[in-house]
Symmetry: C2
Subunit: 207 residues, 2 copies
Amino acid sequence: MKIKNTPENTLERLIIYLKVLEALEKKNVNFISSEDLAKSCGVNSAQLRKDLSFVGSLGTKGVGYSIKSLKYSLKNFLGRAQEWNLILGGISPLGIFLLQDKTLQKEGFYFLAAFDTKEENIGKIYNGISVYSLDQLSYVVNAIKVDIGVIATEEEPEIFLNAFVEQGVKAILNLSKVPFFVKNSEIKIENFSFSMALTKLSYFLKE
Amino acid sequence: MKIKNTPENTLERLIIYLKVLEALEKKNVNFISSEDLAKSCGVNSAQLRKDLSFVGSLGTKGVGYSIKSLKYSLKNFLGRAQEWNLILGGISPLGIFLLQDKTLQKEGFYFLAAFDTKEENIGKIYNGISVYSLDQLSYVVNAIKVDIGVIATEEEPEIFLNAFVEQGVKAILNLSKVPFFVKNSEIKIENFSFSMALTKLSYFLKE
DNA sequence: AAGTGTGAACTTTTTCACAGCT
DNA sequence: AGCTGTGAAAAAGTTCACACTT
């Protein structure tokens, strides 16, 4: 199986399943049926089983799923069995928050360097992570394997986008207000802002 | 027209269109074709026109769209022509960041109160916003119109979820690691975490 | 008996293509 | 001539329902 590649919606749900499984594991649940897990994930059981079929044959007929092993398979499938190196673009309050956040490290996402365009920020250190001038990006990218670039500034975010893309960063989390898109399918951009998330809610409330 | 209600994917794209229009407006662009706007939004022009048709007939045949008036229509449709009152659950670094963020206010999202369960945080004030004990939630909800509850704590986020739902908060932005779902279709929950966003990228990179 | 995995049926979403307005 | 708005066609995603395994 696994001929077709995973649709975006399925991918998003797989991530939800993983998160919910991690929470269940902490409550010492060992086995679960697609019916019960689906309920906790806001989907129906057929959807959940179909989604999981993109990952493999992970359950036991008549029994259900081992939480430990399903979690393991999902982490593997989602690229979360390994660690990833991140760089930050933009010393904003949000950027500083991310550098100091320990929970991302626990999940295998490590900020190794930060970049800014403002002279006064260069050389600062947050949680052991140094802030470099954007000019120094190419040196850093050559010295360490950079997997993901996180853009956390409202002022000229496209400067960081362009620099990251130019230096071969393949995955970008854009947290600025304005979403970006590139034609190059070698590059993946995730756009998120609190404003966009809240707008989904304001639409719902307006009804 | 406007018989069917807007699909989730369309809604998400409409929000993107709005954000991109706001950026274009700043660059003093006045008119744009569906082709050009679509390009900036990472979709094709048929998709864009179909999406906009859920909002209304907003363009001029042979000409394109007025950015000012399209933006106006979208803001209206998305519930962003009005202001919304927010409360925060959880005095975490992320929570404090949100209370202090001025850009949300500029977009019409106002935090009016924050709640925490830890004694030492009660009574603190961030950016003019007071932190109350969660016990006081019902008083606050009775005194002011609360539109959106934002949960920003990793420790027992469900305590805030339950309290918010019980007090009739209809829209919730859950920023904790574990996504929540409720059966009640009167209530809308948006789940977001940096970990989930980064996992989408790790999946892409793993390929 | 219970619950997975999956083709087939159904539903929704996307893309095409063009009539119709400016 | 140019570009929107939209039915109709095509594609994709979801749900059903049941054969099959434990």
